[in-house]
């Protein structure tokens, strides 16, 4: 009961206010939503956000899956060490980490200095203020959100199933692809949903590490709410993004439904 009241107070009430703002000004109106669809900039910002989020989710999975797998096969002590290594940056402020990337990836940053010192390149390459910078910065922040759901599922996979497959003549590759991978899919979907949803709402990293092609939807919401003080329009932007994310969440969990996935492998 207490937790329900808490939930209503801090979550549902502000959301309702947001919804009301977006539709009333002061009488009922759709003008804020009309404006949102009339101005191509907002749709472009949404495309930018989607592009960044898909990339970051895919890269987090590509890096996170092998890492989580590695954690399941090493000894307990090494696993603890790896977990700490993933967690330590997780406890550092996003802003600090973003600035650290600027020092590392900048025109006169560590990587460019090294590459030029080795004669690999003769002019600095652009590693930030573009999509690459945003990808690097955001994957770094979001990787734990991919690794931990994966690890959670992987550690509970019965390894005797893999052993059984091997003893029945499956190659290591086959055993992985047909036994381990399908069993780990609930972790994959959980990790992807989590990373994608968080990426959609990211603000600081794309703003600092991105270029003009990485102006996101959240950047516009911030501009409208903080600089233009147009809270009704800002609310409609927020409700719109929330609707899209909510729809995607429902879609994800239906399509990648966990029951079905685990059920299939057990059949």
């Amino acid at each position: 009961m207490g937790s329900l009241a808490f939930f209503l107070a801090i979550y549902l009430y502000p959301l309702t206010r947001l919804l009301v703002w977006s539709f009333f000004s002061p009488g009922f109106t759709l003008e804020h939503y009309a404006k949102l669809f009339a101005e191509p900039a907002y749709m472009q910002a949404l495309r930018n956000t989607a592009e960044i989020s898909v990339w970051v989710t895919a890269l987090s999975l590509a890096l996170g899956y092998p890492l989580a797998y590695l954690m399941t096969v090493v000894s307990g002590r090494v696993r603890t060490l790896l977990i700490v290594l993933v967690l330590v940056p997780f406890w550092t402020s996003v802003l600090v980490r973003t600035f650290a990337w600027m020092v590392i990836l900048g025109k006169r940053g560590i990587i460019n200095q090294l590459l030029m010192g080795w004669g690999v390149i003769d002019k600095p390459v652009a590693l930030i203020y573009n999509m690459l910078g945003v990808q690097i910065g955001m994957v770094h922040v979001l990787l734990p959100f991919m690794v931990f759901p994966l690890l959670n599922v992987m550690t509970r996979i019965d390894t005797s199933l893999v052993t059984a497959a091997r003893s029945l003549g499956a190659s290591p590759r086959q055993a992985f692809l047909r036994i381990f991978l399908p069993l780990s899919l609930p972790g994959v979907s959980a990790g992807c949903v989590l990373v994608f949803l968080l990426a959609v709402g990211f603000y600081i990293t794309p703003a600092l590490l991105g270029g003009e092609g990485q102006v996101t939807f959240t950047t516009l919401i911030e501009l409208v709410v903080r600089d233009l003080l147009d809270w009704n329009f800002g609310a409609s932007l927020g409700v719109f993004l929330l609707t899209i994310v909510g729809t995607l969440f429902v879609l994800f969990s239906t399509l990648l439904g966990l029951e079905r996935l685990t059920g299939d492998t057990r059949a």
Partner: protein, 369 residues
């Protein structure tokens, strides 16, 4: 459907819930705001070294002289004040903020007019008329200037006009202009780059200014979000030229950064003292504003923070060495122009001021491929 499958789902939800809640909770926990009860004045500024000097130069002596306690809070964001006003619990008395923010606040009815009868005539005579507006009085002058890296352009070989900043052939190197951060977009500067003389900028030929900004676009490495970021970009050599606040460049230069400023064609603006509507101590607030506009006290502020004092009497208390680099030093101020706040504050038929309109257009422009 097995028990285990349901456990997996519950686990999935739990994992998402726990990690998500931790991530989401962050922004909701603020420090307790300062309370403006009777006998106490809350002055809201942008923080940093400026706020530290305010405490030493302004607040402490004011407390001693009047017996009122001064509390500081920040940042003086219009959105925060609007939220306070809507919830009916305004805890601020005085704001120290910039023109775009305060014009929007005036439009929203969040500020009270300045009572000029409470300010000494002698002080007002020394403050430029353009800084004495109905709801705000200027105290801290800065300008948007050509700020450059001195390693890229040593020995005075830097661009000396906005036309030269626009010239990517003659001056190689990356530029940075502000996307957010107070006064933006830089329409006057775009016009100067296009050859419009400094005294013919207003009313702004908006279309011409945007066309000129189109030409700047390919030269810009990074559209920055804050002035601190701009100085950092130039200092680190990430960009070679930035259009940003000169005083911050002077501050960086004094601390040894390879950064300098050319005041030529700078756009002068100011931060202002404003009265919060519904503030509980209006009398004392006006008393504080009068106190803070004193030339000697302003001089005390700008020794540490090289902004331009609005009261020209401040220069009597500065050594030539201290005064030379300031925005409003006679040699610097005469090469610059004042932003026309009436033009930017003009409210159109759609209820928006020019500043809001151009900011919206800036965002749309930025997102145009």
């Amino acid at each position: 459907m097995s028990v285990e499958a349901r456990t997996t789902r519950r686990h999935f939800v739990k994992t998402i819930g726990a990690v998500g809640a931790a991530a989401a909770a962050g922004p909701f926990f603020h420090a307790r705001p300062a309370q403006a009860d009777k006998g106490e004045l809350v002055v809201v500024s942008w923080g940093g070294s400026w706020a530290k000097s305010l405490r030493e130069v302004m607040f402490a002596p004011f407390e001693k002289e009047t017996g009122y306690k001064v509390r500081d809070d920040g940042p003086p964001e219009a959105a925060k004040l609007k939220a306070m006003a809507q919830s009916g619990s305004v805890t601020w008395d005085i704001l120290d903020t910039d023109m775009p923010a305060l014009q929007t606040m005036v439009k929203e009815g969040l500020l009270d007019p300045i009572d000029y009868s409470k300010i000494d005539k002698a002080k007002l005579n020394n403050i430029p008329k353009t800084l004495q507006s109905s709801h705000a009085v200027g105290h801290k002058i800065y300008s948007f200037n050509i700020v450059y890296n001195t390693k890229t352009y040593p020995g005075g070989k830097h661009p000396k006009s906005w036309a030269e900043v626009w010239d990517g052939e003659k001056f190689k190197g990356g530029r940075s202009f502000n996307f957010r951060g107070g006064i933006a977009p830089q329409l006057e500067i775009a016009l100067l780059a296009d050859g419009v003389p400094m005294d013919k900028l207003y009313p702004i030929d908006v279309e011409r200014a945007w066309k000129s900004t189109d030409r700047l676009r390919p030269l810009v490495t990074k559209w920055y979000q804050s002035h601190a970021e701009a100085i950092q970009l130039v200092t680190a050599g990430e960009v070679d030229i930035a259009c940003t606040i000169g005083p911050r460049a002077v501050y960086a230069k004094r601390s040894g950064a390879p950064v300098d400023v050319d005041y030529n064609q700078g756009k002068l603006g100011s931060d202002y003292w404003c009265l919060v509507k519904g503030g509980k101590n209006q009398e004392v607030a006006m008393q504080f504003i009068n106190f803070a506009l004193d030339g000697k006290r302003q001089a005390g502020m700008v020794k540490e923070n090289p902004y331009g004092p609005s009261n020209s009497a401040a220069f009597e208390f500065l050594t030539p060495q201290e005064a030379r680099d300031l925005t409003t030093a006679p040699d610097n101020v005469k090469r610059q122009f004042w932003i026309n706040e009436d033009w930017w504050g003009k409210v159109g038929a759609d209820g928006k001021n020019e500043n809001q309109k151009q900011k919206e257009r800036f965002a749309a422009w930025m997102l145009k491929k």
